[in-house]
Symmetry: C2
Amino acid sequence: MNLPSKLIEDAVTEISRLPGIGKKTALRLALHLLKQHEAHTEALALAITRMRQEVKYCKTCHTISDEEECSICKSHRRDGSIICVVEDIRDVLAIENTNQFNGKYHVLGGVISPIQGIGPEELHIESLINRIDVAKEGEPVKEIILALSATMEGDTTAFYLSKRLKDKGVDISTIARGIPVGGELEFTDEVTLGRSIMTRVNYSGQ
Amino acid sequence: MNLPSKLIEDAVTEISRLPGIGKKTALRLALHLLKQHEAHTEALALAITRMRQEVKYCKTCHTISDEEECSICKSHRRDGSIICVVEDIRDVLAIENTNQFNGKYHVLGGVISPIQGIGPEELHIESLINRIDVAKEGEPVKEIILALSATMEGDTTAFYLSKRLKDKGVDISTIARGIPVGGELEFTDEVTLGRSIMTRVNYSGQ
């Protein structure tokens, strides 16, 4: 694209670095900002800069938090003996929305991905192990739920974690893979269907 | 969405003001920025702020330009007797990419849209008429090409412009509407097909 202005070109280049946004969309967004009042652009620029500079992470579970410890980790109503291990904060939000989980979380900050150069040491795995060790003296951790994506990277991470946690004396479980609620059998892929038969559960009438 | 941090919430709110970006995508983009180096976010914030504050428009055709007059308006190789009227700078870029047009442009800055509260006075229409009047003494404008979108708003704007320019002694044309190159007859909608028959042109073998 041959843009007639260096200013626009710089803005388009920077916007198109964001995931899922190409040059054409970036230009559309830049032109949108130009049509809006200047205060809009300033508010956007300030919000992202402040977020990046001032964001804090919970010292226990590594989720994003404005305080040193997040509200879930601080809460006495949540069951500290069950820790749900997730990839990032979006997964915490998704699970919280279900209202089905009353334990605590541990945010890994990603999954093991050799292609993207992410190894176990880039993730918050040591602090999870440390957390289990420290908890032994107070409220011991009984179960670790691995709630990772059903992708190659997610499965690799789950396998690695299960090996690292083997001797810690905690139950390790993983969220169920199967046919989504409302899903039809004939349109389900063979791998999912096969797995849902292998991991069948007692019929409880629900 | 119940975000655990005010900083993230502000950033998500501002990002989701952009067209075509909802809360979920905004959160994805915000988390992406958090994973990147701080310099990325700063560069993005600076680029959009500078663009918004310092951008200039060509005094003649109103396209975005770093100088007072854009390179197309300044060029002596371009035919100033033909002016192509477009909605915004993206249309200029699209037409320039075809390499089929050697005249000059006039950017309206939008189209007439009563729903969005955009009337003729919000657009650069007076300056187009003024441009034609001024040019009479030097290199007179012979033709105005209306290259507007084939939408209700585009057609309304074209109709309004054709009425305003009626007595100016210039030819008024509009870009052809018809079947796209490579398009198949049977899949073309009736309105387009009907119009392409009504506005048929001499077969030139091309």
